[in-house]
């Protein structure tokens, strides 16, 4: 009985660890609320601060939108936030092959500076395919950013 008890516990543990829900790749946009962190359109806003605008997007998002702190922290979350908010620059730089925003993403993931060129090349190749697919133009900004995020992860994984 003891044996069956232990086996049951072990089985449940293994099942929990290997469950599809846990193994599922985190989508920071859907799972961590990054989609709500887009820059507000200030043209429609009352200026909130006398000296200058000081909205604190990062803090707000982390404190109010992150549903699962354990899985929504770390380099992935930082990179996703960065990609989400600088998508326009990233796309231009990726198409051009280089730029400070691209370098920032790679640095967030700890990619060695010597490997930036090769990883950048892979991202360029991955994302070029994504951009030219049917329906890409109709995607939301968040979905496009997520596509870029996937291209980065894919390029880094293939390193």
């Amino acid at each position: 009985m003891k044996f069956f008890g232990k086996a049951l516990v072990m089985t449940l543990l293994v099942a929990a660890i290997a469950s599809p829900a846990m193994a599922k790749e985190i989508n920071p946009w859907k799972d961590c609320g990054i989609g709500a962190m887009l820059f507000p359109d200030k043209d429609d806003e009352v200026i909130a601060v006398i000296t200058n605008v000081t909205w604190d997007l990062g803090t707000t998002a982390v404190s109010s939108k992150v549903s699962s702190p354990a899985s929504c922290e770390g380099a992935d979350m930082v990179a996703a936030t960065f990609i989400n908010n600088t998508y326009t620059n990233l796309v231009e730089e990726t198409a051009a092959g280089q730029g400070s925003h691209m370098a920032s993403v790679l640095s967030i993931y700890g990619v060695d500076a010597n490997a930036h060129a090769s990883v950048s090349s892979k991202i360029r190749s991955e994302f070029a395919s994504a951009v030219t697919t049917d329906g890409f133009a109709q995607k939301s900004q968040a979905d496009k950013a997520y596509a870029y995020y996937q291209a980065v992860n894919s390029a880094i994984s293939a390193q």
């Binding site: 009352v46 909130a48 000081t54 600088t86 231009e92 400070s100 920032s104 500076a113 090349s121 070029a128």
Partner: protein, 681 residues
């Protein structure tokens, strides 16, 4: 007029007519002087000897000739200004003693006791985690604390702030002025903390420290102004990753940024970062004119630079002033001391990145950009067949198959496409529509993907850093003559900031932003005020590339007192004026503008309203000579019901950061000439 502009105008009127800057009375000159005298410029590493100041005090923090609680650094850590009795910080949680905000000794005792009683169980509320800078400083100053273990590495949130203690540099950032938001006319400052990540060009992910007031949404404009000027708001330091500010300023508001990297040793960098951490979220009383971002950034920097960056010569603080002082002290350091500023980096706005690229294009490349830009800019109103997909590819726009583009080499095509990236983003900002030109942008991106990567380089555009611009406050004197050769003496003064002829170094070039300007002439009866400008703004918004869609409308606004005509000896009418029109750049050195001007004056016996078509020409004749010619034909709609032409020609000679010579010719029923020299500070 936008509500934000209204807010600003009311603020200026209040400033000028009440002749008060709320904080001027709070900060006596003697206090500022005292502050300077205790701050010796030093770029040497921060050592315990320096912070002790007096070795006799190091073993007794409760008494002594120079008690620790009276040490300038301790008072700076508590934000108690020299000569003041209370801290500027109004958040009770910043103080460990009950009356710590007004009693530095009690706060010192409470802080030391807290550090001594701290256990190994570290939480975010533990004294070391809350007050790391106090701990760093007192540990070197109070012997009892030398036995207290350093637990900062266990403070999770603090470690996050210091990026696991990897901060290795500090830059003071300047964002240039922004005429679309009156509260941002004078620019803004941030402090950026660098980490080693930047070796890969990743300075964007570093943290930056900001200071600003918390204003409720939908605040009434008048309330906003009054509370902003007279201490009705609280303000605090906040932080974000730098890319957030970078996006807001350079991409969204099209403002240039400058980074002044400070030459600080690691211990001072850590000390500054630790103190910034202590201040996050702590509240101050905000005063728009004095206790603002410029003052507060200078305030915390003085903790480590020991340079007087309070602008004590002026009863107000503006962001650029901090950089003047910073560089004055950096450049005047002794030969044995390295400059405070080690590097100045220009971070151009999307607008200026576009201009810089466009200028670097060949004539052939510029023609291609113009052709493509014309199609792109007009698509929203006129469906153009060349914007539909080409026959060869569903994602390739027809315009990319025009001979002007296809005849270019791949490298030239890359330069055209990358210039158009900036053009489209700039255009989107001007139209305030982030959804515009999506298809065109996508087509350009796909085209750029088709071309080889890393195939071209763009040269950095050399720009003059902001601290080399002419100083904002003006005082001048000269001679005024009429057509009969009668001469008078003339004086003028302006609080801030620049006029159309000022050699500025940012996007506000060609614009005017003058506050509280006054002109005085000597007469037989004594002195007479001939003009008073409470506020005078001219936004010509000159576009430096002749491409479609880039023209912003020009506008002007002024309010003050003036002579009805040049025949009057003193300012006899109050006026308010508004103009709207267009500007056209004729090459790189000439700007033509036209406005429909309007004017309301308090003439007697009844007020008058006048309108005029106004034309003006600005000509840069060289680095030191610039001329501005304007002509208006004022048609008075009531009262005198006449037409009065007014011609003005003003030329600036021999200018530098502190001086210029101006010659002014005016004809308005009477001819008047003025020759004067101005000093700027």
């Amino acid at each position: 007029m936008k509500s934000s502009h209204l807010k600003f105008v009311v603020a200026i009127i209040l400033c000028c007519t009440l002749n008060t800057l709320a904080q001027a009375a709070v900060i006596p000159d003697s206090d500022l002087g005292s502050s300077i005298s205790t701050n010796k410029l030093s770029t040497k590493p921060w050592t315990s000897d320096q912070v002790r100041g007096d070795n006799s005090t190091q073993n007794n923090h409760h008494s002594g000739l120079t008690p620790i609680h009276a040490h300038p650094t301790w008072r700076k850590l508590l934000h108690i200004r020299p000569g003041h009795a209370k801290s500027d910080i109004i958040s009770a949680e910043f103080f460990l003693a009950e009356n710590g905000n007004a009693d530095p000794k009690a706060e010192l005792d409470a802080t030391i006791a807290a550090f001594l009683n701290e256990t190994d169980t570290i939480a975010s509320t533990s004294p070391q985690c809350q007050f790391p800078a106090r701990y760093m400083w007192l540990r070197q100053h109070v012997p009892e604390l030398s036995s207290v273990p350093n637990r900062l590495s266990k403070c999770a949130d603090y470690q996050k702030w210091t990026q696991q203690n990897t901060i290795n540099g500090v830059s003071v950032m300047f964002a240039t002025g922004y005429l679309d938001n009156p509260a941002s006319y004078y620019g803004h400052t941030l402090i950026k903390f660098h980490t080693p990540l930047e070796k890969g060009g990743a300075t964007l992910t570093d943290y930056a420290l900001n200071y600003g007031a918390a204003v409720p949404e939908n605040e009434n404009p008048v309330v906003y102004i009054l509370r902003g000027l007279f201490g009705g708001y609280t303000a605090t330091y906040t932080h974000q990753a730098f890319f957030q500010y970078n996006h807001n300023y350079r991409e969204h508001e099209l403002r240039d940024m400058w980074a002044y990297r400070l030459n600080l040793p690691k211990d001072k960098i850590e000390f500054l970062a630790a103190h910034a951490w202590e201040l996050l979220g702590k509240r101050y009383v905000y005063y728009f004119a004095w206790d603002n971002c410029a003052y507060r950034m200078a305030d915390i920097l003085a903790l480590v630079t020991e340079a007087p960056m309070y602008q004590p010569r002026l009863p107000w603080a503006i962001p650029i002033g901090m950089f003047y002082d910073l560089m004055d002290h950096s450049e005047s350091g002794s030969p044995n001391q390295p400059p405070i500023v080690s590097k100045i980096t220009y971070l151009p706005s999307r607008q200026n990145r576009f201009y810089a690229k466009y200028r670097q294009l060949s004539t052939k490349e510029q023609s291609a950009v113009r052709e493509l830009a014309t199609h792109i800019a007009t698509h929203s109103t006129h469906r153009h067949p060349q914007l539909t997909p080409s026959a060869s590819s569903p994602t390739r726009l027809g315009i990319l198959e025009s001979p002007a583009y296809t005849s270019l080499s791949p490298t030239e095509q890359i330069r055209v496409i990358e210039t158009l990236f900036d053009y489209i983003e700039y255009l989107k900002r001007l139209k305030k529509n982030k959804e515009a030109y999506k298809n065109e942008k996508r087509a350009l991106v796909i085209e750029r993907f088709r071309l080889p990567p890393n195939a071209t380089t763009w040269e950095d555009t050399p720009e003059t850093p902001p601290h080399k611009s002419q100083r904002p406050t003006k005082i001048g004197g000269g001679i005024i003559s009429d057509k009969n050769g009668n001469t008078q003496g003339g004086l003028n003064f302006r609080i801030a900031n620049f006029d159309t002829l000022t050699p500025t170094v940012d996007q506000l070039d060609d614009n005017t932003l003058e506050m509280a300007g006054i002109q005085i002439a000597t007469t037989e009866k004594g002195l007479a005020i001939t003009q008073f400008d409470a506020v005078n703004i001219v936004a010509l918004n000159t576009t430096h590339a002749n491409l479609p869609g880039l023209t912003k409308n020009a506008w002007k606004f002024n309010i003050g007192a003036t002579r009805e005509t040049l025949r009057h000896t003193h300012a006899n009418v109050w006026h308010i004026g508004f103009g709207y029109g267009k500007t056209l750049a004729l090459g790189n050195s000439t700007t033509l503008y036209g406005l429909i001007d309007s004017l309301a004056q308090t003439t007697t016996p009844e007020g008058s309203i006048a309108v005029s078509p106004t034309v003006g020409l600005l000509i840069h004749l060289g680095p030191s000579i610039e001329s501005h010619l304007s002509h208006a034909n004022w048609r008075y709609l009531n009262g005198r019901q006449s037409i009065i032409p007014h011609t003005k020609w003003e030329t600036r000679f021999l200018s530098n950061t502190h001086y210029d010579i101006r010659f002014v010719y005016q004809h308005q029923l009477e001819i008047e000439t003025r020759l004067g020299i101005n000093y700027y500070f």
